[in-house]
Symmetry: C2
Subunit: 219 residues, 2 copies
DNA sequence: GGTGGTTAAATTGTCGACATCTTCTTCGAC
DNA sequence: GTCGAAGAAGATGTCGACAATTTAACCACC
Protein backbone atom coordinates (compact mmCIF):
# COMPACT_ATOMS: atom_id res chain seq x y z
CA UNK A 1 0.00 0.00 0.00
CA UNK A 2 1.37 3.39 -1.03
CA UNK A 3 2.10 5.85 1.71
CA UNK A 4 -0.31 8.64 0.91
CA UNK A 5 -3.76 8.15 2.35
CA UNK A 6 -3.91 11.79 3.41
CA UNK A 7 -6.48 12.93 0.89
CA UNK A 8 -7.91 16.42 1.08
CA UNK A 9 -11.36 15.04 0.35
CA UNK A 10 -11.40 12.46 3.07
CA UNK A 11 -12.18 9.08 1.52
CA UNK A 12 -9.10 7.67 -0.18
CA UNK A 13 -9.47 5.46 -3.26
CA UNK A 14 -12.68 6.15 -5.16
CA UNK A 15 -14.38 3.99 -7.76
CA UNK A 16 -13.28 4.79 -11.32
CA UNK A 17 -16.64 6.26 -12.28
CA UNK A 18 -18.01 8.57 -9.61
CA UNK A 19 -14.83 10.56 -9.41
CA UNK A 20 -17.03 13.36 -10.64
CA UNK A 21 -19.29 13.07 -7.61
CA UNK A 22 -16.33 12.95 -5.26
CA UNK A 23 -14.71 16.08 -6.65
CA UNK A 24 -18.05 17.85 -6.82
CA UNK A 25 -18.67 17.10 -3.19
CA UNK A 26 -15.19 18.27 -2.25
CA UNK A 27 -15.86 21.56 -4.00
CA UNK A 28 -19.31 22.27 -2.61
CA UNK A 29 -18.22 21.26 0.88
CA UNK A 30 -15.48 23.83 0.61
CA UNK A 31 -12.58 21.39 0.88
CA UNK A 32 -11.22 22.90 -2.30
CA UNK A 33 -10.93 26.67 -2.03
CA UNK A 34 -12.21 28.95 -4.80
CA UNK A 35 -9.62 29.60 -7.48
CA UNK A 36 -7.57 26.68 -6.24
CA UNK A 37 -5.84 24.92 -9.06
CA UNK A 38 -7.00 21.40 -9.78
CA UNK A 39 -4.03 19.53 -11.19
CA UNK A 40 -5.05 16.31 -12.86
CA UNK A 41 -2.09 14.28 -11.64
CA UNK A 42 -2.58 15.39 -8.05
CA UNK A 43 -6.28 14.62 -8.09
CA UNK A 44 -5.73 11.20 -9.59
CA UNK A 45 -3.44 10.38 -6.66
CA UNK A 46 -5.72 11.87 -4.03
CA UNK A 47 -8.78 10.02 -5.27
CA UNK A 48 -7.01 6.88 -6.38
CA UNK A 49 -8.30 7.16 -9.92
CA UNK A 50 -6.59 7.31 -13.27
CA UNK A 51 -5.85 10.64 -14.88
CA UNK A 52 -8.38 9.91 -17.63
CA UNK A 53 -11.12 9.56 -15.08
CA UNK A 54 -10.15 12.78 -13.38
CA UNK A 55 -9.95 14.51 -16.70
CA UNK A 56 -13.44 13.40 -17.69
CA UNK A 57 -14.72 14.48 -14.29
CA UNK A 58 -13.22 17.94 -14.69
CA UNK A 59 -14.92 18.35 -18.06
CA UNK A 60 -18.21 17.33 -16.54
CA UNK A 61 -17.79 19.75 -13.65
CA UNK A 62 -16.83 22.52 -16.05
CA UNK A 63 -20.14 22.02 -17.82
CA UNK A 64 -21.90 22.25 -14.49
CA UNK A 65 -20.18 25.55 -13.84
CA UNK A 66 -18.28 24.39 -10.78
CA UNK A 67 -14.80 24.56 -12.30
CA UNK A 68 -13.24 26.79 -14.92
CA UNK A 69 -11.07 25.38 -17.63
CA UNK A 70 -8.63 27.32 -19.79
CA UNK A 71 -6.92 25.76 -22.76
CA UNK A 72 -3.51 24.37 -21.79
CA UNK A 73 -3.78 26.08 -18.45
CA UNK A 74 -5.74 23.56 -16.50
CA UNK A 75 -8.75 23.71 -14.26
CA UNK A 76 -9.45 25.64 -11.12
CA UNK A 77 -12.37 25.89 -8.75
CA UNK A 78 -14.69 28.55 -10.09
CA UNK A 79 -15.04 31.53 -7.79
CA UNK A 80 -18.57 32.82 -8.13
CA UNK A 81 -18.57 36.55 -7.54
CA UNK A 82 -21.35 38.24 -5.64
CA UNK A 83 -22.54 39.75 -8.89
CA UNK A 84 -22.77 36.35 -10.50
CA UNK A 85 -24.50 34.92 -7.45
CA UNK A 86 -27.15 37.58 -7.84
CA UNK A 87 -27.58 36.78 -11.52
CA UNK A 88 -27.91 33.11 -10.73
CA UNK A 89 -30.49 33.82 -8.07
CA UNK A 90 -32.46 35.98 -10.48
CA UNK A 91 -32.71 33.12 -12.94
CA UNK A 92 -33.63 30.78 -10.13
CA UNK A 93 -36.30 33.26 -9.12
CA UNK A 94 -38.20 33.02 -12.37
CA UNK A 95 -37.65 29.31 -12.95
CA UNK A 96 -38.63 28.31 -9.44
CA UNK A 97 -41.62 30.59 -9.82
CA UNK A 98 -42.63 28.53 -12.81
CA UNK A 99 -42.10 25.32 -10.87
CA UNK A 100 -44.18 26.56 -7.96
CA UNK A 101 -47.02 27.42 -10.32
CA UNK A 102 -46.87 23.99 -11.92
CA UNK A 103 -46.69 22.37 -8.49
CA UNK A 104 -49.82 24.21 -7.40
CA UNK A 105 -51.63 22.74 -10.38
CA UNK A 106 -50.50 19.18 -9.87
CA UNK A 107 -50.02 18.73 -6.14
CA UNK A 108 -51.85 15.73 -4.65
CA UNK A 109 -53.35 15.43 -1.19
CA UNK A 110 -50.54 13.20 -0.12
CA UNK A 111 -47.95 15.74 -1.25
CA UNK A 112 -49.86 18.51 0.50
CA UNK A 113 -49.48 16.62 3.75
CA UNK A 114 -45.77 16.23 3.06
CA UNK A 115 -45.28 19.93 2.36
CA UNK A 116 -47.20 20.89 5.49
CA UNK A 117 -45.01 18.56 7.46
CA UNK A 118 -41.87 20.15 6.05
CA UNK A 119 -43.29 23.55 6.93
CA UNK A 120 -43.90 22.51 10.52
CA UNK A 121 -40.39 21.13 10.79
CA UNK A 122 -38.97 24.39 9.47
CA UNK A 123 -40.94 26.37 12.01
CA UNK A 124 -39.63 24.15 14.76
CA UNK A 125 -36.05 24.38 13.52
CA UNK A 126 -36.16 28.16 13.50
CA UNK A 127 -37.79 28.28 16.92
CA UNK A 128 -35.07 26.06 18.34
CA UNK A 129 -32.32 27.90 16.52
CA UNK A 130 -31.14 24.88 14.56
CA UNK A 131 -29.62 26.69 11.62
CA UNK A 132 -28.14 23.64 9.95
CA UNK A 133 -31.35 21.66 10.23
CA UNK A 134 -33.28 24.59 8.81
CA UNK A 135 -30.86 24.83 5.91
CA UNK A 136 -31.40 21.17 5.10
CA UNK A 137 -35.17 21.54 5.22
CA UNK A 138 -34.83 24.60 3.02
CA UNK A 139 -33.12 22.57 0.32
CA UNK A 140 -35.59 19.74 0.74
CA UNK A 141 -38.56 22.06 0.31
CA UNK A 142 -37.20 23.65 -2.84
CA UNK A 143 -36.39 20.26 -4.29
CA UNK A 144 -39.75 18.73 -3.48
CA UNK A 145 -41.69 21.62 -4.98
CA UNK A 146 -39.67 21.34 -8.14
CA UNK A 147 -40.25 17.59 -8.25
CA UNK A 148 -43.96 18.04 -7.68
CA UNK A 149 -44.01 20.55 -10.50
CA UNK A 150 -42.89 17.71 -12.72
CA UNK A 151 -40.75 19.82 -15.02
CA UNK A 152 -37.63 17.81 -15.72
CA UNK A 153 -36.10 20.61 -17.76
CA UNK A 154 -36.62 23.23 -15.10
CA UNK A 155 -35.39 20.83 -12.45
CA UNK A 156 -32.12 20.34 -14.29
CA UNK A 157 -31.60 24.05 -14.76
CA UNK A 158 -32.24 24.87 -11.12
CA UNK A 159 -30.11 22.03 -9.83
CA UNK A 160 -27.16 23.24 -11.83
CA UNK A 161 -27.59 26.82 -10.69
CA UNK A 162 -28.04 25.81 -7.07
CA UNK A 163 -24.76 23.91 -7.04
CA UNK A 164 -22.92 27.00 -8.23
CA UNK A 165 -24.33 29.07 -5.40
CA UNK A 166 -23.89 26.83 -2.37
CA UNK A 167 -21.15 28.97 -0.93
CA UNK A 168 -23.22 32.13 -1.01
CA UNK A 169 -26.33 30.30 0.18
CA UNK A 170 -24.35 29.10 3.13
CA UNK A 171 -23.09 32.55 4.03
CA UNK A 172 -26.65 33.79 3.83
CA UNK A 173 -27.95 31.19 6.26
CA UNK A 174 -25.58 32.53 8.90
CA UNK A 175 -26.92 36.08 8.77
CA UNK A 176 -28.64 36.67 12.14
CA UNK A 177 -32.42 37.06 11.79
CA UNK A 178 -32.34 35.79 8.22
CA UNK A 179 -34.09 32.47 8.98
CA UNK A 180 -37.08 34.32 10.40
CA UNK A 181 -37.63 36.31 7.22
CA UNK A 182 -37.01 33.27 5.10
CA UNK A 183 -39.38 31.10 7.13
CA UNK A 184 -42.40 33.30 6.52
CA UNK A 185 -41.71 33.31 2.79
CA UNK A 186 -41.37 29.55 2.69
CA UNK A 187 -44.62 29.06 4.55
CA UNK A 188 -46.32 31.39 2.10
CA UNK A 189 -45.12 29.28 -0.82
CA UNK A 190 -46.38 26.13 0.89
CA UNK A 191 -49.75 27.75 1.54
CA UNK A 192 -50.28 28.82 -2.04
CA UNK A 193 -49.12 25.54 -3.53
CA UNK A 194 -51.39 23.61 -1.21
CA UNK A 195 -54.25 25.96 -2.09
CA UNK A 196 -53.85 24.98 -5.74
CA UNK A 197 -53.25 28.64 -6.61
CA UNK A 198 -50.65 28.72 -9.43
CA UNK A 199 -50.36 32.48 -9.86
CA UNK A 200 -50.15 33.15 -6.16
CA UNK A 201 -47.63 30.33 -5.74
CA UNK A 202 -45.46 31.80 -8.47
CA UNK A 203 -45.62 35.22 -6.85
CA UNK A 204 -44.74 33.75 -3.47
CA UNK A 205 -41.76 31.86 -4.89
CA UNK A 206 -40.52 34.95 -6.69
CA UNK A 207 -40.98 37.05 -3.58
CA UNK A 208 -38.84 34.58 -1.66
CA UNK A 209 -36.02 34.57 -4.18
CA UNK A 210 -36.26 38.35 -4.50
CA UNK A 211 -35.74 38.51 -0.77
CA UNK A 212 -32.70 36.25 -1.09
CA UNK A 213 -31.31 38.59 -3.72
CA UNK A 214 -31.86 41.59 -1.47
CA UNK A 215 -30.04 39.82 1.33
CA UNK A 216 -27.15 39.01 -1.01
CA UNK A 217 -26.89 42.64 -2.04
CA UNK A 218 -26.81 43.68 1.59
CA UNK A 219 -23.57 41.80 2.22
CA UNK B 1 -4.65 11.54 -48.80
CA UNK B 2 -7.05 8.76 -47.78
CA UNK B 3 -9.92 7.97 -50.11
CA UNK B 4 -12.97 8.84 -48.02
CA UNK B 5 -14.02 12.43 -48.41
CA UNK B 6 -17.71 11.52 -48.49
CA UNK B 7 -18.70 12.89 -45.09
CA UNK B 8 -22.33 13.10 -44.05
CA UNK B 9 -21.71 16.53 -42.57
CA UNK B 10 -20.19 18.09 -45.65
CA UNK B 11 -16.75 19.44 -44.82
CA UNK B 12 -14.28 16.60 -44.67
CA UNK B 13 -11.33 16.76 -42.26
CA UNK B 14 -12.01 19.01 -39.31
CA UNK B 15 -9.52 20.53 -36.91
CA UNK B 16 -8.92 18.41 -33.84
CA UNK B 17 -10.62 20.88 -31.53
CA UNK B 18 -13.91 22.08 -32.94
CA UNK B 19 -15.16 18.61 -33.63
CA UNK B 20 -17.81 19.51 -31.11
CA UNK B 21 -18.99 22.43 -33.21
CA UNK B 22 -19.02 20.31 -36.35
CA UNK B 23 -21.13 17.55 -34.83
CA UNK B 24 -23.40 20.08 -33.17
CA UNK B 25 -24.00 21.77 -36.47
CA UNK B 26 -24.68 18.46 -38.17
CA UNK B 27 -27.29 17.67 -35.54
CA UNK B 28 -29.11 21.00 -35.53
CA UNK B 29 -29.04 21.14 -39.32
CA UNK B 30 -30.78 17.80 -39.34
CA UNK B 31 -28.00 15.91 -41.09
CA UNK B 32 -28.11 13.43 -38.26
CA UNK B 33 -31.63 12.13 -37.69
CA UNK B 34 -33.12 11.97 -34.19
CA UNK B 35 -32.33 8.70 -32.41
CA UNK B 36 -29.60 7.99 -34.91
CA UNK B 37 -26.72 6.18 -33.33
CA UNK B 38 -23.49 8.11 -33.15
CA UNK B 39 -20.68 5.57 -33.29
CA UNK B 40 -17.40 7.04 -32.21
CA UNK B 41 -15.29 5.19 -34.75
CA UNK B 42 -17.55 6.22 -37.63
CA UNK B 43 -17.59 9.85 -36.59
CA UNK B 44 -13.83 9.95 -36.21
CA UNK B 45 -13.53 8.82 -39.83
CA UNK B 46 -16.23 11.16 -41.13
CA UNK B 47 -14.73 14.20 -39.47
CA UNK B 48 -11.13 13.20 -39.79
CA UNK B 49 -10.50 13.39 -36.07
CA UNK B 50 -9.25 10.93 -33.51
CA UNK B 51 -11.67 8.89 -31.48
CA UNK B 52 -10.64 10.74 -28.33
CA UNK B 53 -11.66 14.03 -29.87
CA UNK B 54 -15.00 12.63 -30.94
CA UNK B 55 -15.50 11.12 -27.53
CA UNK B 56 -14.86 14.43 -25.80
CA UNK B 57 -17.21 16.13 -28.22
CA UNK B 58 -19.98 13.63 -27.49
CA UNK B 59 -19.62 14.26 -23.77
CA UNK B 60 -19.86 17.97 -24.36
CA UNK B 61 -22.94 17.60 -26.53
CA UNK B 62 -24.52 15.30 -23.97
CA UNK B 63 -24.18 18.07 -21.41
CA UNK B 64 -25.81 20.45 -23.84
CA UNK B 65 -28.72 18.06 -24.15
CA UNK B 66 -28.24 17.39 -27.85
CA UNK B 67 -27.21 13.76 -27.56
CA UNK B 68 -28.10 11.04 -25.11
CA UNK B 69 -25.50 8.75 -23.67
CA UNK B 70 -26.11 5.42 -22.00
CA UNK B 71 -23.36 3.54 -20.22
CA UNK B 72 -21.73 1.02 -22.52
CA UNK B 73 -24.43 1.60 -25.10
CA UNK B 74 -23.11 4.61 -26.87
CA UNK B 75 -24.55 7.94 -27.91
CA UNK B 76 -27.49 8.80 -30.09
CA UNK B 77 -29.07 12.01 -31.27
CA UNK B 78 -31.56 13.04 -28.64
CA UNK B 79 -35.13 13.05 -29.89
CA UNK B 80 -36.94 15.84 -28.11
CA UNK B 81 -40.57 14.89 -27.71
CA UNK B 82 -43.32 17.43 -28.13
CA UNK B 83 -43.93 17.26 -24.40
CA UNK B 84 -40.30 18.08 -23.70
CA UNK B 85 -40.34 20.84 -26.27
CA UNK B 86 -43.21 22.43 -24.39
CA UNK B 87 -41.38 22.12 -21.10
CA UNK B 88 -38.32 23.70 -22.61
CA UNK B 89 -40.36 26.54 -24.03
CA UNK B 90 -41.98 27.12 -20.66
CA UNK B 91 -38.60 27.58 -19.05
CA UNK B 92 -37.53 29.82 -21.88
CA UNK B 93 -40.70 31.80 -21.33
CA UNK B 94 -39.81 32.83 -17.81
CA UNK B 95 -36.09 33.27 -18.38
CA UNK B 96 -36.51 35.34 -21.51
CA UNK B 97 -39.11 37.32 -19.63
CA UNK B 98 -36.44 38.13 -17.08
CA UNK B 99 -33.98 39.06 -19.82
CA UNK B 100 -36.51 41.34 -21.50
CA UNK B 101 -37.13 43.12 -18.21
CA UNK B 102 -33.41 43.60 -17.65
CA UNK B 103 -32.99 44.75 -21.22
CA UNK B 104 -35.69 47.38 -20.76
CA UNK B 105 -33.74 48.74 -17.81
CA UNK B 106 -30.38 48.87 -19.52
CA UNK B 107 -31.08 49.48 -23.19
CA UNK B 108 -29.17 52.40 -24.71
CA UNK B 109 -30.33 54.75 -27.46
CA UNK B 110 -28.01 53.06 -29.89
CA UNK B 111 -29.47 49.67 -29.07
CA UNK B 112 -32.99 51.03 -29.37
CA UNK B 113 -32.21 52.05 -32.93
CA UNK B 114 -30.86 48.58 -33.61
CA UNK B 115 -33.93 46.86 -32.19
CA UNK B 116 -36.24 49.12 -34.19
CA UNK B 117 -34.26 48.29 -37.29
CA UNK B 118 -34.62 44.57 -36.62
CA UNK B 119 -38.35 45.08 -36.12
CA UNK B 120 -38.66 46.86 -39.47
CA UNK B 121 -36.74 44.10 -41.19
CA UNK B 122 -39.04 41.50 -39.63
CA UNK B 123 -42.09 43.37 -40.83
CA UNK B 124 -40.65 43.50 -44.32
CA UNK B 125 -39.73 39.81 -44.28
CA UNK B 126 -43.25 38.81 -43.30
CA UNK B 127 -44.79 41.13 -45.86
CA UNK B 128 -42.61 39.63 -48.58
CA UNK B 129 -43.18 36.08 -47.37
CA UNK B 130 -39.51 35.42 -46.70
CA UNK B 131 -39.92 32.73 -44.08
CA UNK B 132 -36.26 31.84 -43.81
CA UNK B 133 -35.18 35.46 -43.49
CA UNK B 134 -37.83 36.03 -40.83
CA UNK B 135 -36.61 33.00 -38.91
CA UNK B 136 -33.08 34.38 -38.90
CA UNK B 137 -34.26 37.77 -37.68
CA UNK B 138 -36.29 36.00 -35.05
CA UNK B 139 -33.22 34.35 -33.63
CA UNK B 140 -31.24 37.58 -33.91
CA UNK B 141 -33.86 39.54 -31.98
CA UNK B 142 -34.04 37.03 -29.16
CA UNK B 143 -30.27 36.91 -28.93
CA UNK B 144 -29.81 40.66 -28.94
CA UNK B 145 -32.40 41.22 -26.25
CA UNK B 146 -30.69 38.66 -24.08
CA UNK B 147 -27.32 40.27 -24.71
CA UNK B 148 -28.69 43.72 -23.92
CA UNK B 149 -30.11 42.31 -20.70
CA UNK B 150 -26.52 41.57 -19.76
CA UNK B 151 -27.29 38.39 -17.84
CA UNK B 152 -24.57 35.93 -18.70
CA UNK B 153 -26.16 33.19 -16.66
CA UNK B 154 -29.57 33.57 -18.26
CA UNK B 155 -27.95 33.78 -21.67
CA UNK B 156 -26.22 30.45 -21.17
CA UNK B 157 -29.40 28.77 -19.99
CA UNK B 158 -31.46 30.03 -22.90
CA UNK B 159 -28.81 29.20 -25.47
CA UNK B 160 -28.68 25.63 -24.31
CA UNK B 161 -32.45 25.28 -24.32
CA UNK B 162 -32.76 26.88 -27.73
CA UNK B 163 -30.35 24.42 -29.31
CA UNK B 164 -32.44 21.52 -28.05
CA UNK B 165 -35.54 22.92 -29.66
CA UNK B 166 -34.36 23.94 -33.11
CA UNK B 167 -36.22 21.13 -34.80
CA UNK B 168 -39.55 22.10 -33.28
CA UNK B 169 -38.89 25.80 -33.80
CA UNK B 170 -38.31 25.06 -37.43
CA UNK B 171 -41.54 23.14 -37.80
CA UNK B 172 -43.36 26.00 -36.17
CA UNK B 173 -42.01 28.55 -38.61
CA UNK B 174 -43.60 26.63 -41.45
CA UNK B 175 -47.13 26.77 -40.04
CA UNK B 176 -49.13 29.02 -42.44
CA UNK B 177 -50.18 32.27 -40.74
CA UNK B 178 -47.80 31.73 -37.84
CA UNK B 179 -45.34 34.50 -38.79
CA UNK B 180 -48.13 37.08 -38.66
CA UNK B 181 -49.05 36.20 -35.08
CA UNK B 182 -45.43 36.00 -34.10
CA UNK B 183 -44.56 39.33 -35.70
CA UNK B 184 -47.04 41.32 -33.63
CA UNK B 185 -45.70 39.76 -30.45
CA UNK B 186 -42.12 40.51 -31.39
CA UNK B 187 -42.94 44.12 -32.15
CA UNK B 188 -44.66 44.39 -28.77
CA UNK B 189 -41.53 43.17 -27.03
CA UNK B 190 -39.43 45.69 -28.95
CA UNK B 191 -41.83 48.49 -28.06
CA UNK B 192 -41.79 47.78 -24.36
CA UNK B 193 -38.03 47.30 -24.18
CA UNK B 194 -37.46 50.54 -26.05
CA UNK B 195 -39.93 52.27 -23.73
CA UNK B 196 -37.77 51.26 -20.77
CA UNK B 197 -40.74 49.43 -19.27
CA UNK B 198 -39.36 46.32 -17.51
CA UNK B 199 -42.63 44.83 -16.29
CA UNK B 200 -44.41 45.37 -19.59
CA UNK B 201 -41.43 43.96 -21.46
CA UNK B 202 -41.45 40.86 -19.30
CA UNK B 203 -45.15 40.40 -19.89
CA UNK B 204 -44.70 40.85 -23.64
CA UNK B 205 -41.90 38.31 -23.76
CA UNK B 206 -43.91 35.81 -21.76
CA UNK B 207 -46.95 36.39 -23.93
CA UNK B 208 -44.85 35.62 -26.99
CA UNK B 209 -43.44 32.38 -25.62
CA UNK B 210 -46.86 31.41 -24.31
CA UNK B 211 -48.11 31.82 -27.86
CA UNK B 212 -45.31 29.61 -29.10
CA UNK B 213 -46.32 26.98 -26.57
CA UNK B 214 -49.94 27.17 -27.71
CA UNK B 215 -48.84 26.71 -31.30
CA UNK B 216 -46.73 23.71 -30.30
CA UNK B 217 -49.69 22.13 -28.55
CA UNK B 218 -51.80 22.68 -31.64
CA UNK B 219 -49.61 20.42 -33.74
C1' DG C 1 20.20 46.59 -10.91
C1' DG C 2 16.78 45.80 -14.17
C1' DT C 3 15.43 43.64 -18.60
C1' DG C 4 15.20 40.39 -22.37
C1' DG C 5 15.79 35.97 -24.08
C1' DT C 6 16.67 31.10 -23.46
C1' DT C 7 16.30 26.80 -21.17
C1' DA C 8 14.01 23.51 -18.10
C1' DA C 9 10.25 21.84 -15.41
C1' DA C 10 5.50 21.04 -14.95
C1' DT C 11 1.00 20.31 -16.83
C1' DT C 12 -2.24 19.60 -20.20
C1' DG C 13 -3.68 17.58 -24.84
C1' DT C 14 -3.58 13.68 -27.98
C1' DC C 15 -3.10 9.20 -29.58
C1' DG C 16 -3.17 4.17 -29.84
C1' DA C 17 -3.85 -0.32 -27.56
C1' DC C 18 -6.16 -3.32 -24.45
C1' DA C 19 -10.13 -4.64 -21.33
C1' DT C 20 -15.10 -4.79 -20.59
C1' DC C 21 -19.62 -4.75 -21.85
C1' DT C 22 -23.53 -5.19 -25.08
C1' DT C 23 -25.81 -7.28 -28.80
C1' DC C 24 -26.46 -10.00 -32.72
C1' DT C 25 -25.95 -14.52 -34.54
C1' DT C 26 -25.91 -19.26 -34.41
C1' DC C 27 -26.42 -23.75 -32.73
C1' DG C 28 -28.72 -27.10 -30.01
C1' DA C 29 -32.45 -29.05 -27.35
C1' DC C 30 -37.16 -29.55 -26.27
C1' DG D 1 -40.95 -24.47 -34.78
C1' DT D 2 -39.71 -21.96 -30.77
C1' DC D 3 -37.10 -21.03 -26.90
C1' DG D 4 -32.66 -20.76 -24.66
C1' DA D 5 -27.86 -20.56 -24.25
C1' DA D 6 -23.27 -20.04 -25.87
C1' DG D 7 -20.09 -17.71 -28.81
C1' DA D 8 -18.50 -14.04 -31.86
C1' DA D 9 -18.49 -9.40 -33.41
C1' DG D 10 -19.03 -4.59 -32.53
C1' DA D 11 -18.60 -0.60 -29.60
C1' DT D 12 -17.50 1.65 -25.49
C1' DG D 13 -14.55 2.39 -21.27
C1' DT D 14 -9.97 2.59 -19.36
C1' DC D 15 -5.24 3.02 -19.17
C1' DG D 16 -0.43 4.37 -20.12
C1' DA D 17 2.88 6.83 -23.00
C1' DC D 18 4.26 10.56 -25.97
C1' DA D 19 3.73 15.34 -27.92
C1' DA D 20 2.56 20.26 -27.41
C1' DT D 21 2.12 24.18 -24.59
C1' DT D 22 2.49 27.06 -20.70
C1' DT D 23 4.97 28.75 -16.74
C1' DA D 24 8.91 29.48 -13.94
C1' DA D 25 13.74 29.92 -13.33
C1' DC D 26 18.12 31.33 -14.83
C1' DC D 27 21.70 33.72 -17.11
C1' DA D 28 23.59 37.05 -20.17
C1' DC D 29 23.50 41.74 -21.38
C1' DC D 30 22.46 46.58 -21.32
Amino acid sequence: MPAQEQTAAGSGAVAPEDVTAAIREAIVRGEFAPNQRLVEADLSQQFGASRSGVRTALFELANEGLVERVQHRGARVRAVTLEEAIEISEVRMVVEGLCAAKAAERVTDEEIAELRSIGDAMRAAVADGHVLKYSELNQLLHRRIIEIGGQATAAGVVERLRAQNVRHQFRLALVPGRPNVSLAEHLAIIDEVCAHAPDAAERAARRHLASVIQALKAI
